[in-house]
Amino acid sequence: MAHENIKVNLYVWRQNGPNDPNAGIKVYSDLEINTHMSFLEMLDVLNTHIIENKDKYPEGPVAFEHDCREGICGACSLVINGRPHGPMQGTTTCQLHMRHFNNGDNIYIEPFKAKAFPMIKDLVVDRSSFDKIIQAGGYISVNTGGTPDGNAVPVPQDVSSEAMDAAACIGCGACVAACPNASAMLFTSAKVSHLGLLPQGKTEAAIRVKRMVSQMDNEGFGLCSNVGACEADCPKEISINNIARMNRAYISSTFTNDH
């Protein structure tokens, strides 16, 4: 396997807490890396370099979120050269590899920015507003036990598959970061669709969509103006059709008497 080494210049957003007056881009030039590395391993290399040269870098290592590093937990984020999760279609930051960059590239790394995602430090923001939206109704109200046999209700293969397409959302927030309105419509509609498509989730579909949309608004997310950037940057390629489906479900829910 060819191990190619390249040098890149990193322009990294540094911010020590939400009210840091000196927040801004800091340049780390000529970082030598291997093209087989993942993007986050490249940041590991940067942080090791910063830690080992602590006198030169009083700002300390760059804080960024990550965990599974296999594209499924949704912890990693980053706006890379202006795009959430970077240049590759359908790829999370942790699955992005440096073979897609060239020697001498300037790489801009910024956090996901949105009013509903308050800044914590450097590239880390608080995305717990997504949890609040789920808590408002992103579930089917069944308790443990007493459920019918798994095969009691047949689910057509295409319905299950469509629900699965929506359920593939990893809750990373790229849709919000990509949207000029910082809207959470793609995230919310993916959950509304996942549950609303399945026979098990239809019973409370109307009340679910009302509650979730209302919570989304309360959290300070913007409105949807059909830009479509969310779909383009979603690492799981969740379809914007879900938004259309949610709009329909939301409007029809206003004709029912549920709260």
């Binding site: 396997m1 890396i33 291997n34 087989h36 993942s38 986050l40 391993e41 590991d44 290399v45 942080n47 090791t48 830690i51 602590k54 300390g60 290592p61 804080a63 965990d67 599974c68 296999e70 594209g71 937990c73 949704g74 912890a75 590759m88 699955q95 590899h97 995305r127 717990s128 997504f130 949890d131 789920i134 808590q135 408002a136 992103g138 579930y139 089917i140 069944v142 308790n143 443990t144 036990g145 459920t147 019918p148 046999d149 798994g150 095969n151 209700v153 047949p154 689910v155 057509p156 293969q157 299950s160 699965m164 359920a167 593939a168 990893i170 809750g171 549950l195 399945l198 098990q200 989730g201």
Partner: protein, 672 residues
């Protein structure tokens, strides 16, 4: 200290044990439940399902996770599926068969009664998940689909594409979210448990660090449940998430909870090989791929050389020059032998110089035959007469894509190679830890009031876990076992008032943690935490306590762990701006976890040395058959090793729980 015994209830038959026990176990009335608090640490499958169910039952639950959201727990990364003895395929499956397969797969080192219970409740899990809206794969008729996994001869694995863990976790997370919105569960995100508080011999609370502010916080409860996952990251490189750690379990161990079978680690046979020393983690390729993928290495050394040098492509090698070694050695199970067997076989091929890839540490997993087979079948069903090879491959590719598409994509993203065209390169990697906190039949640890569930306990998988059984165990414990068995303890606590955190025990525990933090921050050495972790895992643990172990190596390994630990406490550098750690500081979080891995590592070496036999994932060079298969010693080692902490300088104390097999005859495992 409570008596060290398994507390398996008496019953006429094994089949009736759990049902009978449930019918007569003491209950807590709803009006009392409202006044009882339970702490659940960890919100993966085991923790989220337990917290949600306890909330539904009416307990006051406090749930903790170190992530920004419960949905990030590493259960989410499980790919292939979840087992259940539904027998939907009419292929001869039953509760007994799942029980038998699991005990045999675990190389007869698990507790019979626990495993049988697991097999029983496996059926309820599927029903529960379907009701929650988990979009499992379906047949055309709308029924649930199944596939096969290693170590079994039936199809009992339920799946949601290659994202089964994600979908099950989202199910549990949604149930948890519902309880949070109802006020039954209070969720503490970005909180990490750093000590257990024991009051008058019972677990009564935890010290958690608020990771945003860095402040230590005290939380009290009538009981504490650990659902904190496994400790595979002690090897640094593993398929675990970067944050997965042993700390909650380890601090509980130091407070009196026995640690069982720490040497039982699962090395998964199908992971993407290491590509360089910058590597931070390893990525698993689901075992489900072994349904259709064929594992091979070249038969001749000259071809190995050519392949390594890049002078030849694996697709150019003719059939007769390939060694499909799993099919050759294990004809009955072929490519679907259990993980420990498949991993060791790959190791032997590579040890003998047949490994491929630039490092020689890889074997091939090839889908060419499956693509042809599926392509021919599709051509037949489409009534195509004399289809071209190209057409067959195209049709076959579509079938394979439907089954494993996302896994193939992931492989291509990481390696830059297209597995539809060239075989995958795979190598074994640390994946799961069967060992964990010792628990009795009630999932209660040796500290009354402290429970352990899911991967964090030791109970169900013996010395080797079968594929698609981790999801099953996590959800079984959380939904259907712990919510009942915790009542046995809590029914005696209905007169206990709310636990005050303003007591000397909480004070002592908090000071203990603060001292440790101050110590770490005051060293101001020169080496990064990361570099110590890598040396511990890659250079010591994998080397001396990895896929094959021996007495001499374990002795050297233990000395090396100690020496490196001492160096860590003298030379580590943890960047910070607050000397008490009162700030958001991911480096400090990492340092605290690595500090505990050092101590665990030593215990693993001790345990591996004590177990003078080979079983499942624990393989000792000295105890192998002539063919290199594991040689168990049932006469002397049919026991669970439960270790009691005895200070850092002294050897831990071994307690043996004898394993009795009443329903299964102990045999040498054979997959031939």
């Amino acid at each position: 200290m409570k008596k060290f015994q398994s507390n398996v209830p008496e019953s006429e038959t094994l089949e009736d044990k759990w049902t009978e026990y449930r019918s007569r176990m003491p209950l807590v009335a709803p009006n009392n439940k409202r006044n009882i608090e339970v702490i659940v640490v960890g919100t993966g499958l085991a923790g989220a399902s337990a917290a949600a169910t306890l909330g539904e039952l009416g307990y006051q639950v406090k749930a903790f996770c170190f992530h920004d959201s419960p949905r990030r727990a590493h259960s989410i990364a499980a790919q292939g599926g979840i087992n259940a003895a539904k027998n939907y395929q009419n292929d001869g499956d039953s509760v007994y068969r799942l029980f038998y397969d699991t005990v045999k797969g675990g190389d007869y080192r698990s507790r019979e009664a626990n495993v049988h219970r697991l097999a029983e409740v496996s059926r309820n899990i599927i029903d529960q998940c379907v009701a929650q809206g988990v979009p499992f794969a379906r047949e055309y008729g709308g029924n649930l689909a199944n596939r096969s996994f290693g170590g079994v001869q039936v199809s009992r694995t339920f799946y949601a594409r290659g994202q089964t863990g994600q979908q099950l976790l989202i199910g549990a997370y949604s149930a948890l979210s519902r309880q949070i919105s109802l006020g039954n569960v209070v969720m503490y995100n970005r909180h990490e448990m750093l000590d257990l508080v024991v009051v008058e011999g019972k677990a009564r609370g935890i010290i958690a660090r608020n990771l945003l502010t860095g402040q230590l916080e005290r939380y009290g409860a009538h009981a504490v449940v650990l659902a904190t996952g496994g400790y595979g990251n002690v090897f640094y490189l593993s398929t675990n998430a970067m944050g997965s750690n042993v700390t909650a379990g380890w601090v509980s161990h130091k407070r009196g909870a026995y640690f069982a079978n720490p040497c039982y680690c699962q090395i998964h046979p199908t992971c993407i090989p290491v590509s360089g020393d910058y590597q931070s983690k390893l990525t698993l390729m689901s075992e489900s791929l072994r349904n259709d993928g064929r594992v091979w290495v070249p038969k001749h050394k000259k071809d190995v050389e050519a392949l390594r040098a890049g002078k030849m492509k694996p697709t150019e090698l003719s059939e007769e020059d390939r060694d499909y070694y799993l099919e050759r050695i294990y004809p009955a199970f072929g490519n679907l032998v259990p993980r420990d067997v498949a991993s060791r076989a790959a190791k032997y091929r590579c040890d003998d110089g047949y490994g491929v890839g630039s490092t020689g540490l890889a074997v091939y997993l090839d889908f060419a035959a499956a693509i042809l087979r599926y392509g021919k079948s599709a051509a037949t069903s489409q009534n195509l007469v004399n289809p071209s090879d190209e057409k067959i491959k195209e049709l076959g590719r579509a079938v394979v894509e439907k089954k494993y598409g996302n896994l193939f994509e992931m492989y291509e993203k990481i390696t830059g190679e297209d597995p539809y065209k060239t075989p995958m390169r795979i190598f074994p990697a640390v994946h799961y830890t069967m060992g964990g906190i010792w628990v009795d039949y009630n999932l209660e640890t040796s500290i009354p009031g402290l429970f352990a569930t899911g991967e964090s306990n030791f109970s169900d998988h013996g010395a080797n876990r079968l594929g698609a059984s981790a999801l099953m165990q996590g959800l079984a414990d959380g939904y259907f076992v712990l919510p009942y068995t915790i009542g046995v303890f809590l029914s005696k606590e209905i007169r206990t008032p709310k636990i005050s955190t303003d007591t000397p025990e909480f004070e002592e525990a908090q000071n203990n943690v603060q001292t440790k933090i101050n110590k770490l921050l005051s060293i101001n050495g020169t080496r990064s935490v990361e570099s110590y972790h890598r040396e511990l895992g890659v250079d010591i643990m994998w080397q001396y306590c990895g896929m094959a172990r021996n007495a001499e190596g374990l002795k050297i390994g233990r000395e090396k762990v100690r020496a490196l630990r001492e160096d860590f406490w003298k030379n580590v550098y943890v960047p910070h701006s607050d000397k008490d750690g009162h700030e958001f500081n991911p480096e400090l979080e990492k340092a605290l976890r690595v500090a505990d891995f050092f101590e665990l590592a030593e215990l693993m070496m001790v345990d591996a040395n004590d177990r003078k036999e080979s079983c499942g994932g624990h393989f000792r060079d000295e105890y192998a058959t002539a063919e290199g298969e594991a040689e168990r010693n049932d006469k002397d080692y049919a026991y669970v090793s439960a270790w009691e902490y005895n200070g850092l300088d002294d050897d831990p104390i071994l307690h043996k729980e004898k394993l009795e097999f009443k329903d299964i005859e102990l045999k040498t495992r054979s997959y031939k």
